[in-house]
Structure formats: C-alpha cells, structure tokens
C-alpha cells in the first residue's frame, strides 16, 4: 500500500508537512492536542527523533500517536543512537503499525545535546540508511538475509541549499537520490531568490522538494540562527521587519512572514511543498496556513 504522503507527492499537489516535537517525559497531552489540531490540515506530521541530541519521547511513539488519531506520520530516523540492527527493527515495527514514511537523517552530534557523554553510534549514515531501506523493500535485510514479509516506505532525506561550501552538499544530495530518496526537506529558507537558484539545480532530478519553513519568533532568534545554525540565512530585511514589530507582536509578524513565504513558494511553483517547523509552537501552524491562504 502506497503511503498517503507518497500519493500526495505524486499528485503534483502543493504538499504541506508539519513537525511534531515530542516532550521530554510522559506528559503527552500537549503533543496529542497538536496532532488532533493538525492532522486534518496538513498532508503528514513529521515527528522528530531526539532533535538536537536532546533525549525525549521517541519519534516512533509520536508516530504511533499520529496513526492512532488517523493522521499520516513521517518517522524521523537518525543514525546517532541506534546501530543497523536497531534501526531495521524499528522500521519493521513502523511498517507493521501503518507508519509508511521515513525521513533518513545522520543526526546531530551527541555533544550538542543534553547527554554530552553518550556514545554517538553512527554505525550507518543517512545515505546507507536510505540504501538499506530500499534493500528491505526488495525483501532482504541490511545483511542480505531474507525477510519474512517486506516493507514499503516513502523515504525522504534533507538537504541544505545554502551550505558553504555548496558542492560537497550537492554531491551528497545526489548520493541520497541514488540511494533512493523520493523527497527532500530543506534546511530553513528565507531568501526565495537564493532558493530558486538551488531549485534550478534540484529540478534535474526526479525528487520532490519541500522547502523548510522555520517560524521566526523574534529578531533575536533570527540573528541567533544566522550566527549559529549552519546553512540558515535570514536576510537583513526580514530581521529589520521582525525588529520593527510592535512589542508583543513579534510572533504575529513571524507567522505573517512564514505565511507569505509559503504563499510565494506555491504561487511561483518554486518547489513541491513545504515542511513547517514551528519549533515548540506547533499550535500556531493553523495560523501560518491561514496566513498562506491555505
């Protein structure tokens, strides 16, 4: 059975996915509320896997909660915490429970998170994980052993259109495509002209590109990302616009900017959809969609 996300991507529809960040602990009510609120408004909910190497409720748990509520789930899977045996086992569990989309990531480094002394596994990298998933679909595990009952996933990966230097990133982008990536979520983009340059390159390949939309909550956050987050470039004008927002209205401005960006991406048919990351503010995603006219 083809996943609903794959169908949506294949229909030349402007696809919208949104991120769900599970909590640290078992107080899951807020995550459930976000899932209930968003499941009918977006094409898929993409659950983070210990984002920034901070230990949380697992992606697979969040994805099961999405499925139980009738939503379409994307399992984020990093190679940081599990070896190839554990990764495959989780893919089997996911498939058996109706989770048919996987986003394959290398994963952030351990020292940036809250368990800085833990061992980083990285038995595989994102390219090898994608490759392995395609092998499982053929009926064989990563070791070449026959599976009793295969899997079928819509597999995606990430790309940073503004990486510096760019060429190594583009080489890896192609390796991910060769390994079987069907869709890509990009690092947050704010400058559409620069993004259009990347899309011109990406359009050569038979993959769907979802532009990353990270909600700006303040001018300070925008500056912080420019200085500290690899591959994020918030243009000066946007920072000024955020800074000029009246006191207490910065978030509203951020929502407006995100909505406006999505609208422009769609109208100019620059890419195949967006992936919205409203980090810790999932409840405003409907407002972003409204601002985008969706």
């Amino acid at each position: 059975m083809v996943s609903d996300l794959k169908k949506a991507l294949g229909n030349n529809k402007f696809v919208i996915t949104s991120e769900i960040g599970p909590p640290k602990g078992t107080a899951l009510e807020k995550m459930y509320q976000h899932i209930e609120m968003l499941k009918g408004k977006v094409d898929a909910l993409n659950v983070t896997d210990h984002q920034s190497s901070v230990m949380r409720y697992p992606s697979i748990g969040g994805c099961l909660a999405v499925r139980e509520r009738g939503g379409e789930a994307v399992l984020q899977m990093t190679c940081r915490d599990r070896n190839r045996i554990a990764l495959q086992a989780e893919l089997l569990l996911a498939y058996s429970r109706g989770i048919k989309n996987v986003l394959c990531l290398t994963g952030d480094a351990v020292p940036v998170g809250d368990h800085g002394e833990a061992r980083g596994i990285f038995d595989l990298d994102s390219v090898q994980l994608l490759h392995g998933i395609r092998q499982m679909e053929e009926g064989y595990d990563f070791g070449g052993n026959e599976l009793q009952g295969a899997v079928e996933f819509c597999a995606g990966a990430t790309v940073t259109p503004e990486a510096e230097p760019l060429e190594p990133q583009l080489i890896k982008f192609e390796k991910k495509i060769d390994a079987g990536a069907e869709f890509f979520q990009t690092q947050a983009i704010y400058d559409l002209e620069r993004f259009a340059g990347f899309m011109e390159h990406a359009r050569q390949f038979p993959v769907k590109i979802l532009a990353g939309i990270v909600l700006l909550s303040s001018a300070r956050m925008a500056r912080f990302m420019n200085e500290n987050v690899p591959g994020i470039f918030v243009p000066r004008e946007l920072i000024d616009e955020m800074a000029a927002a009246p006191k207490g209205k910065a978030l509203e401005k951020g929502i407006e900017i995100a909505g406006r960006t999505i609208k422009a991406l769609k109208e100019e048919a620059l890419c195949d959809g967006v992936h919205i990351m409203a980090i810790n503010r999932e409840e405003v995603v409907p407002e972003i969609l409204a601002a985008a006219g969706l």
Partner: protein, 214 residues
C-alpha cells in the same frame, strides 16, 4: 607516531593508591616525555606531591620506552625499590602500564589517561590520524581519514552540521569532508566523492584483537 596522554587529577591518583602507602614511580622517556606528562620533570613533581600526601616513595625512574621489553631490565635494576613498594604508579600511556603489569604481580596504577595515537602536523600540534579500523580508505579520501577527522566518522559526505568548512561540534575544527573535497578537487578526482560507501565492517578483527607473527 606518538601516544598522546594527559595527567589524571592528583586526587584520582591518591584515590587509586589509597591504602598503598609505599610507591615506586615509573615515567617514560618517549611519548610521555614529549607530551610533558611523564618525563623526568613530571616524575619529580609527582614524587614530591605523593610525599606531601604522606606516601613513602621507594624510588622513581624514567624508562627510555616504557612499552618495550627493556622495561624488564629496568625493573630488575631497581629490584629492591620495586619490591619495597606496595604499588607502582606509571606515568606512561596505557601501553607502558600494561608492559609493567606483565612483569609484576603487585598493583600497577596509571597516573595518565591515554587520549589517542597522534601525528605531529606542526610543532606541538598533534591530531588523531588513524582509528585502526582494519579497512583503510585513505586511497579514496585524498589521504584524509574521515573516521578520525569527522566527528561522526561518516563515509558518504558531510553532515548538515558543517558550516564554512568547520565542524558543528567545535567551530575551531575543520570539517573533514571540506578538506577531502578540496583535495580531491585539486587532484581532479571528485568522482571519488560521488562513490557510494556501503556500511563499514565493524568486525574486521573482532575484539579482543590479536595478531600472531611467526
């Protein structure tokens, strides 16, 4: 090639040797001397600190190379002081500690932590050059090892954390794949970077690793 070491905190040395009041100290004239962690000067300082802490130091010697069989000769030469001691404190890398351990039955305690096997790139600057993985890929990575030079030990290219040629873990450190990319580009061999590397074999020589040469 050098074994890079760092001195343990003195409190830890004291804790390990708790209840063992007579000690013999061994330094190393090779790597630990070069690293300034276990040469003549450091052994002298350790002797003074241990005495201050109430230990009786039966003797102290810096062995030319603690990890070779000459260590047996030096222990024999210092037989009385070694016998008088209740433990040996070794200011050498873990190889030196284990070499001494081959010849004595009494406790042999490390005063240093062994960090990595390093190469000196410029005077005083050492980097970890080899992970001893048993399947060398330097021929495909322009002579730069991604297992030691990349924080995550990736094979198929840079992660999303790389920025302006630096690593997400430490902006002072270079991104291995930027280095590999630049060098391969100079060599006109960027096709190597496009090649898919399958998952590594982590059991080339399953631990405990042993080799017998006849």
């Amino acid at each position: 090639m050098k074994s890079l070491t760092r001195q343990k905190r003195f409190e830890e040395v004291k804790r390990m040797s708790d209840g063992l009041d007579r000690v013999f100290i061994i330094g190393c004239g090779t790597c630990a001397t070069m690293a300034k962690t276990g040469g003549v000067e450091e052994v002298g300082a350790m002797k003074a600190r241990l005495q201050e802490a109430g230990k009786l130091v039966t003797g102290a010697v810096v062995i030319p190379t603690a990890c070779d069989e000459m260590t047996a000769v030096l222990l024999e030469e210092n037989k009385k002081a070694v016998e008088d001691a209740r433990c040996i404190i070794v200011m050498a890398c873990a190889l030196g500690v284990q070499q001494v351990n081959l010849y004595l039955s009494k406790p042999v305690l490390p005063a240093l932590d062994t960090l990595f096997i390093g190469m000196e790139k410029s005077p005083g600057y050492f980097f970890e050059a080899c992970d001893q993985c048993g399947q060398c890929i330097l021929g495909e990575t322009a002579g730069i090892c991604p297992l030691t030079a990349c924080h995550k030990g990736l094979l198929n290219g840079p992660c999303g954390g790389t920025d302006k040629g630096k690593c997400e873990v430490d902006p002072e450190k270079d991104c291995a794949f930027t280095l590999i990319y630049e060098r391969l580009r100079e060599q006109g061999r960027l096709d190597l970077m496009r090649r898919y590397h399958p998952p590594r074999n982590h059991q080339v020589l399953p631990r405990p690793r042993e080799v017998r040469i006849s």
